[in-house]
Assembly symmetry: C2
Homo-oligomer: 451 residues x 2
Amino acid sequence: MAEKILIEKIKQLLAENRAEELEELVGDLHPNDFSEIADELSPEQITEIFKHIKDQEKVVDYISELSTDLQTILLNALGKEQASEILKDMYTDDAADLLGEIAPEESRELLDLLPKEEAQEIEILMGYEENTAGSVMNSEFVALQEYFTAEEAIEHIREMSPDTEMIYYVYVLDSRTRLIGVLSLRDLIVADPHKRVSEIMEEDVISVLDTEDRETVARTISDYDLLAIPVINEKGKMVGIVTVDDIIDVLEEEVTEDIHKMVGSVKVHEDKLIKTSTLKIATARLPWLLVCMGGELISGMIMEHHAGLLEMVLALSFFIPVLMDMGGNVGTQSSTITVRGLATGELRMEEFLKIVWAETKVGIFIGAITGLLIFIVTCLWQKSLIMSIIVGLSLCITVVLANTFGTLLPLVFNYLKVDPAIASSPLITTIVDILGLLVYFGLGTFLFKHF
Amino acid sequence: MAEKILIEKIKQLLAENRAEELEELVGDLHPNDFSEIADELSPEQITEIFKHIKDQEKVVDYISELSTDLQTILLNALGKEQASEILKDMYTDDAADLLGEIAPEESRELLDLLPKEEAQEIEILMGYEENTAGSVMNSEFVALQEYFTAEEAIEHIREMSPDTEMIYYVYVLDSRTRLIGVLSLRDLIVADPHKRVSEIMEEDVISVLDTEDRETVARTISDYDLLAIPVINEKGKMVGIVTVDDIIDVLEEEVTEDIHKMVGSVKVHEDKLIKTSTLKIATARLPWLLVCMGGELISGMIMEHHAGLLEMVLALSFFIPVLMDMGGNVGTQSSTITVRGLATGELRMEEFLKIVWAETKVGIFIGAITGLLIFIVTCLWQKSLIMSIIVGLSLCITVVLANTFGTLLPLVFNYLKVDPAIASSPLITTIVDILGLLVYFGLGTFLFKHF
């Protein structure tokens, strides 16, 4: 609510062109708060606001937090001169992300307006493939020489006065810029001022290669409780750092992508679902739906194949919904839980058989209980012992199959280096439906023929 | 693989009682690496290893990374004296977590062995309700007075030589320990040494209440890109900090819980799935399965109600699998994506109608395409125009209903302050199945009667 009032006030000040009050109101916000307000304003209004903020650094902070779509619109609106000024002050990773989104000619023009060294750094970052450590790192970090004393090191940092907030670790490089040690600001402050950096530093540095997958980077940072991790290239030279705040975003994005995959969709909406076109969302969801539609037609054919039995005992068809639904639900439960377990590292491939056996036991337990229950219900409803046996036994077997398959499939996919999330709920449901119907009609044909 | 060799080597050294080599091998591991190795060793072996590590701090680091189950076993094995020594050196939040897991009498005994102040701090933490900021914070942080100069502040930190790695922010408190400002180590180092803390500090401190939900804390840290957030009590006094590494774990756990809920289960296994009892897992999954089994029996009854129509046109039953499955899949897609969108904040309740409308459009699109396809397939397969119309139209309507319902239900639950993840895939599937069958048989009865 407070946000709404603030937005109204800003719009009013803009309309009445009250520059000073506007700067007072907007000039001191946290970038995250500004970005929430910006969501409700037009690009023209935001450009107008930026004109009134005297502190260029603040403008850069604000722009960095906005969505890339909005960033490109704003850069265009501000003109090349100011755009290149802003790019220069942005963190290199943010600048590279932004330039990667706009047309190559335009990004070329902007790069040419930047100081050469800065432009080169950004271009290197732009060259990394998506989802690699290189694509999420930034190249601002503090490097020291090992022969510095703690005092000299602190003095060096003070002189550099790095604008980056992320200097909680400082890195020690040798003469060929290879990473040989790491220490924290705390270590420097607490240490005897005359001690050398080489004596204070930790030599076992946990680092990642620039070509590594960003999810691996995220997991390493999280496992080792780091605030930042140094990125080295194949020659062992340090090229950047990935910071923990970026990693939280990476983890969130990866989870969202996984969850979308689990239900057989692709995450397409970069920004907001309601701003993404219907066509784009629908085509992301359709492929798996169509595959499964094909699969379910097979279920229909199985039924047609047993039309004789169905005509004889129509009531058999009444239990198809419960049979299929239970199989689908149980299979979705075990597959989803397995996929998540693999993602968090809770389930490990070395324990393949143990995992499958644990889930099979769960399946037997759930199958026995639900099978018994449906047996009783069928007895009461249809008053036929044979039918009750067919329904109860089929449900039990289907549930066991569903639970085991649901666990097995993602594990097998993972083993084959296929993304386990492909074993999505639509796929599992379809497979289990077909298996369930085969069991049901198999049992039905056998028992009705013999008893 | 390297891990396996290391474990074998450790076991061998233990068996041969080669203490020095053992310390050399194990004494310098990262706690996270040690915890992975400890997973493969018996508690006796771990206790044995600890006896050989001379550096007590290292032992504390190692123990802190282990699972609570293992921690309690080890503390018992080590005896009260050493156990209290270890507790004293642990971070207060870790110590509180551990003591909260063991029997009250035992934790009382251990607390009595600790220095009084330390014991009090831990007891306060143990008093916080689960999942609150208080329950995940720790009480070690660096506090300064506002009249300190930057130089004095650095000197103060050096003297304290805090063992905490998490002193990247230092907090400024007034005489009544109320939080009045924050600054980073970097700010202190970069600042003019004679400037006062009050001139350097940021006065707009983002903080959280100790009773706040830990998920809110996690989201605040992530939104504002913080490394730690101060926790204050209702009187405005600063009582602790929550650090970003703890928050990553919180976010992961919350996501896992959400994912389990989405498939109608409860996350029960604290530690590892394969170590959790079958009964525990099965009873976590059963409730929703049973509810849905009941729902699917209603589907069966709807079919029984239309037995006449089914007897007349048995082929109608062949399409029930595809109809039900598509409804379930589409409903699961939209509900899961909505639940995730609400969790990440991408979907906001103010946009309720826009979201539902966006998803309805997607439903219409998918419904039209799949409906048309199944119409063609039915024409070819069953060679009946009426049937093809019934099947195609029913599928189209079911898909639209499923997509809209799948979005609507979590939004409504969220509005009613019920966890939106309750709108799980089993629930949505069941509701949509019933709706789909009603549409199907309604259309079937109508068309076969009139044409």
